[in-house]
């Protein structure tokens, strides 16, 4: 039990606002929350431009929610009316075109910002102990974001909406035994139809956003509990000043308030330029084919997901039956490698081997076809990100103090990701598939071999203080 309730007494001539705040603070920790989460949250003072993307993601989330609410007022989740209602929003609802473009551009902006936010975490080791949970909450947020984008993309009910959803839901049918029933259950019909549109609408406007908001809150609470990492990857809490705060830290307010203000204004400048001058972004943000109403009898010649899914989609397409032999050889080599070079316990190694043998059997063309494993690799390419805190064994967090060739490894990884993304927008050709397969192997090797390569090479000594030059 806490202390008995006591009303804060302020002098009679105190300003009204101060009295009101005191009244609230006695009943709800308003000032306390503000101070803990932002006002007196001491952050490292050496944040660089990479540290803006978290705040920007919050901003885009707000934009998406607010514009989404207004779109919902005019949109009709009905397969006969959906396409027309979007055009109604574009042409007849006052400022509807602006709200819709803000929402469609916001979707792509969200992914750009989040991918850059994740790149930052990768470069500076922001997921390392004690920030594993921040990373996991963030990862779950990313999953939600992908689901949100996928469900939302069906709503305009254009050709690409329809066939994109058809292709992705069909992926579930590759799962043995339950697959067919599962995809039927997801669609609520034998093809993507009105039933599918209605449930996707429900997921898009309430179910996923609710989870998303909860996860973002958890992400921020965890961050403000353990404190922010910084570009040097050293722990600023280990070097405290006389005031009890890190000597290299600075209160978020007003310093990062003003910095974020500036970052936000630059972001809005770019975002507005797209909204007002290139809302289709050359067919990447709004796909041309999606201006044709959905037609269940006309399959478009080239179905590609929106750009933010294409890196993972490329992995799926790269998994051909020939490529499965390479995957099987790779898996076998990896298990041998674990036996030779890993310090895992004997029992764990046995367990890994048994599991690998089962998977190898499953990968035989007589057992499960390549389509299923394509879906598995597609999912794994996303999920493997969650394991980063336990894969990275580097003695330093930040790339700044890693051996020079580590930067090249990261470089290759980022190039692979971009190449996979690009190839996913293209029709597959023999050469493209080969490149995608190579990039897929490199993508997974980056993660699976990280426990070893991240410890190798000569690391630079960590500084006592953060790298900082006054403005």
């Amino acid at each position: 039990m806490g202390a008995a309730f006591k009303e804060t007494k302020l002098p009679a001539d105190a300003p009204k606002s101060q009295k009101a705040l005191a009244w609230v603070d006695d009943r709800f920790p308003l000032s306390k929350l503000w101070q803990e989460q932002w006002g007196r949250y001491y952050a490292p003072k050496n944040f660089n431009v990479w540290y803006i993307f978290g705040s920007l993601a919050m901003l885009v989330l707000v934009i998406q929610i607010v514009t989404g609410i207004f779109l919902t007022m005019h949109y009709k989740p009905d397969s006969n009316l959906a396409f027309g209602s979007v055009e109604y929003i574009m042409k007849e609802v006052p400022w509807g075109w602006l709200v819709r473009y803000m929402h469609s551009t916001g979707a792509s902006a969200f992914f750009i910002v989040v991918y850059l936010h994740m790149t930052r975490a990768l470069m500076y080791g922001s997921y390392r102990k004690p920030r594993e949970l921040i990373w996991l909450f963030g990862f779950a947020t990313f999953l939600c974001l992908m689901a949100e984008a996928f469900f939302g993309y069906l709503l305009p009910w254009g050709q690409m909406s329809y066939w994109g959803a058809q292709v992705i839901v069909n992926l579930f049918s590759a799962i043995p035994v339950i697959g067919q029933d599962l995809s039927l259950w997801i669609r609520g019909d034998y093809v993507v139809s009105d039933a599918t549109l209605n449930r996707f609408f429900a997921f898009h406007v309430i179910a996923i956003p609710l989870v998303l908001l909860g996860l973002v809150a958890a992400h921020l609470i965890a961050l403000h509990e353990v404190g922010s990492n910084n570009p040097d990857g050293i722990e600023v809490k280990e070097n405290l000043g006389p005031d009890g705060h890190g000597v290299d830290t600075i209160p978020s307010h007003p310093y990062y308030t003003t910095k974020d203000f500036f970052g936000v204004s630059v972001f809005l400048l770019i975002y507005s330029a797209i909204v007002f001058f290139a809302p289709e972004m050359g067919g990447y943000f709004l796909e041309y084919n999606n201006f044709l109403p959905a037609d269940s009898l006309k399959t478009p010649p080239h179905i590609a997901p929106t750009w933010y899914f294409t890196p993972f989609y490329s992995v799926l397409r790269a998994t051909t039956s020939d490529f499965m032999w390479v995957v099987m050889a790779g898996l076998a080599a990896y298990v041998v490698f674990i036996w030779l070079r890993s310090r895992l316990s004997y029992k764990t190694k046995i367990a890994i081997t048994v599991l690998a043998v089962l998977v190898e059997i499953g990968m035989l063309p007589q057992v499960l076809d390549a389509k299923f494993w394509g879906v598995v690799l597609f999912g794994s390419a996303v999920v493997i990100l969650a394991l980063l805190p336990w894969l990275d064994h580097s003695p330093v967090r930040s790339i700044r103090y890693r051996p020079g060739w580590h930067k090249a490894v990261y470089g290759v990884f980022f190039v692979c990701f971009l190449v996979l993304g690009y190839l996913g927008t293209q029709l597959p050709t023999a050469t493209y598939t080969l490149i995608a397969q190579l990039a897929t192997l490199l993508y997974f090797s980056f993660f699976l071999l990280m426990p070893w390569w991240s410890t190798m090479g000569r690391f630079k000594p960590l500084p006592k203080r953060v790298t900082w030059t006054a403005h």
């Binding site: 027309g84 042409k91 310093y255 500036f262 204004s265 630059v266 507005s272 007002f276 041309y288 980022f414």
Partner: protein, 253 residues
Amino acid sequence: MNLTKKLLALLALVPGFVFANEGTFPLDRAPERSDIASLQNGAKLFVNYCLNCHSASSMRYNRLRDLGLSEDQIKGNLLFSGEKVGDMMKVAMRADDAKTWFGAVPPDLSVITRARASSAGTGGDYLYTYLRTFYKDDTRPTGWNNLVVPNVAMPHVLWQLQGVRTVKMVEEPDPHEKGKTVHRFAGFEQVTPGSLSQPEFDTQVADLVAYMEWMAEPTRDLRKRLGAVVVLFLSLFAFLAWRLNASYWKDVK
């Protein structure tokens, strides 16, 4: 940080990897015809020639007021069969009749210029080329064929304006497969003259296409004009935010 810069430079390249040309009939660029008179002419052509079979179901007749037409002008010149001026541009033809007559339902044209954009050109370029490359082909049920959409179901609606043309094809070795030949387009041959000369016809089609581009997004001009103001405002805002931030951080040692 050097690596950061390199990565950012790489990201900047991404939008540059545009789609490769799909290797269809090369598209002509639709001339810029955005003045009011051209758009009004385009609207007239659209209502007269397209709207008999195609609908534009997200477009109201009285939206044409945005093109400087009065309601009376719209009523007098563009409404033929008892529509009201506030009606959508619907079509009387039933879908299954269309299927019987043409073999396909004519698509709604509300946003067709946006749908037909591709790496080969804008949707306007596509329509401008498409509408000008019809030719007489007696092997087709309608008697017409098209270079942009081979074996198209639509007949040459503007034939009285353009006249009747046939197409010259030459046999050439297939560059992709040895020993095979392909037909290559080698020009049109005018059989009977139309009511318009070729340049006049091209201008009429350009007006029609310009109208259809306007119809696909009537707010496009407003969007761009407003965009200039917003970008200008945000530039100023960004400058102030930059200076504000600098004034706070200058004391941080």
